[in-house]
C-alpha cells in the first residue's frame, strides 16, 4: 500500500484549477447518487408491495427531508455533462484543447 496518494495534495501542492475542482465535485455528487440509490430501491419495493408501505414512502418522499434527498439526485444532469466533457477531453475531439487542458503539472512532468 505504498502507492502515491493524490488526496490532500490539492490545496498544498496544486494551485486551484477548474479541472480538479470539477473532479472533486464529480466525486461528491457520485457519492450522493450512490446513497440515493437506496431511495430508488426503496421506492421500487414500495410500489411492488403497495398498501401501507407505499403510503409511508409517499409521505416521506413528499416531506421536506424526502424532497431534499430527491434534490440530491439532481446532480445527475451535471454528471451527464461531466461525462460528455471527459469523453471529449480524453478522446481529444471537439477542439477543447484551448479551453480545457490538463493541469500545468502534467505538462511539466511530461516535458
Amino acid at each position: 500500500m505504498e502507492r502515491p496518494l493524490s488526496p490532500f495534495m490539492f490545496p498544498v501542492w496544486y494551485r486551484f484549477q477548474i479541472t480538479s475542482a470539477l473532479s472533486i465535485l464529480h466525486r461528491l455528487t457520485g457519492i450522493a447518487l450512490a446513497v440515493g440509490s437506496i431511495l430508488l430501491a426503496w421506492w421500487l419495493i414500495a410500489v411492488s408491495a403497495g398498501g401501507e408501505l407505499f403510503a409511508t414512502t409517499h409521505a416521506f418522499l413528499a416531506s421536506p427531508i424526502g424532497v431534499l434527498s430527491q434534490r440530491l439526485r439532481g446532480p445527475r444532469r451535471n454528471r451527464a455533462a461531466d461525462r460528455a466533457r471527459l469523453a471529449l477531453c480524453v478522446s481529444g475531439l471537439g477542439g477543447l484543447n484551448g479551453k480545457i487542458s490538463l493541469p500545468r503539472e502534467f505538462d511539466r512532468a511530461t516535458r
Binding site: 488526496p7 457520485g30 430501491a41 411492488s48 407505499f54 409517499h58
Partner: protein
C-alpha cells in the same frame, strides 16, 4: 516441429507481470475491465437516466396503482431493471475507487469494500425482485 510458444512466453514482460500479480502491485492486465465497465455504464446511464427521470416526473402526483401498472409494462420493467443494474455497477466502481484513495489500511479497505459490495448486491437484488414481482404478477 516444436509447438510454438504462446505470446506471453515470448515477451520479457511476462515475468514482471507475474511478479506484479503475485505482489498485487500495478497492473496485472485486468484493470481495464473495470475501467471499461465504468465508461460503458456511464454512456448507458445517459439515456436510461433521462427516461427514468421523465417517468418519475410523470408519476410524481399519481397513486400506487398507476405506478404499479407502469412498472408492470414490459418496456418500463426492462428499462428500470437495466437502469438499476447499470447505476449500481457504475456506483460500485466509483465508490471502490474513492475507497482506494481514502482508506489507507488493508483491513479497513477490505471491510469497506465488502460492505459496499454487500449493500450493492442487496439493493440490486431487491430492486429486480420488486420489478419482477409486478411484471410477472400482472
Amino acid at each position: 516441429m516444436a509447438k510454438s510458444p504462446s505470446l506471453a512466453n515470448l515477451t520479457a514482460l511476462r515475468d514482471e507481470t507475474v511478479l506484479r500479480r503475485v505482489r498485487h502491485f500495478g497492473s496485472a492486465r485486468n484493470g481495464l475491465q473495470e475501467w471499461r465497465l465504468q465508461r460503458l455504464t456511464a454512456i448507458a446511464l445517459i439515456p436510461l437516466g433521462l427516461y427514468f427521470a421523465a417517468s418519475m416526473l410523470r408519476l410524481a402526483t399519481s397513486d400506487q396503482v398507476t405506478a404499479a401498472a407502469w412498472l408492470a409494462s414490459p418496456v418500463a420493467a426492462l428499462l428500470v431493471i437495466i437502469f438499476v443494474l447499470a447505476g449500481l455497477a457504475h456506483g460500485l466502481v466509483g465508490l471502490r475507487s474513492v475507497l482506494v484513495d481514502y482508506v489507507h489500511t488493508r483491513a479497513g479497505l477490505l471491510a469497506a469494500e465488502l460492505l459496499v459490495r454487500a449493500v450493492v448486491v442487496i439493493l440490486g437484488g431487491a430492486s429486480v425482485l420488486a420489478v419482477l414481482k409486478l411484471f410477472l404478477g400482472r
